[in-house]
Symmetry: C2
Subunit: 137 residues, 2 copies
């Protein structure tokens, strides 16, 4: 193996609103929905501790983890650790959140399918209690 400078694939992009994300999360858009691609695609960077609010996707979403480590959790289920190289196929209509671990950033490509003109429904923040519970396991 050769030691190299491990640069990120994409720029970090612009900070995402704390209306829908807790902590410092960033979006670098990669592709908008068009006549062939019935999804939007972007690279999302979560600094340690950052995460989405709880939300649903009417036609599901695919995450490709490209760097770091974090969590994906569906409402009422144990959180699932996610790390570089993992793919998460998120079902339609299932309440969930994803984000970084408290001790690691995570970067993922998100491919978000559209149902008509809608691809996400935002819900409540993931509370510190919910987030800390997942991280201390």
């Amino acid at each position: 193996m050769t030691a190299e400078i491990n640069t990120a694939i994409f720029p970090k992009g612009t900070k995402l609103s704390n209306d829908w994300f807790s902590g410092d999360a960033f979006l670098h858009p990669l592709l908008a929905k068009d006549k062939n691609n019935e999804f939007a695609m972007g690279s999302v960077t979560f600094e340690p501790g950052a995460r989405t609010h709880w939300h649903t996707h009417p036609k599901g979403q695919v995450l490709i983890i490209t760097e770091g480590a974090g969590f994906y959790q569906e409402r009422g289920k144990p959180a699932q650790a996610i790390k570089k190289g993992d793919v998460v196929n998120i079902p339609e209509g299932v309440e969930h959140w994803h984000g970084a671990a408290s001790s690691s950033k995570v970067v993922h490509i998100a491919i978000t399918n559209y149902q008509g003109e809608e691809n996400v429904v935002w819900l409540n923040p993931v509370t510190d209690e919910e987030y800390n519970h997942v991280n201390k396991k």
Copy 2:
């Protein structure tokens, strides 16, 4: 910046058939078409000199270059250099090829949309003359 071991995101996978690829190309499948995702997704690694045959996609394809450098060329147009971080939105029905440079591997995620049950139509190999012409520029 910190020097780190720059490991690939995905395993290289299994060698792709020389019926459709020239040289050493490998596929690591990431996702099959399902009820929400109307595309197949995989990570394709092209060793230096490796490339697809000429082909078309009935509903287009998106490439995300995750490592290295290579080329994308549509029939009758100049080749386009592609490198880590680039996204290529390939139109439907356009004859094209993609692959590594002669001096560099390239790795890309391919997201290939389906029209019914079909997502690719394979054509002739990219000749050495065509490939060398692109590489010597």
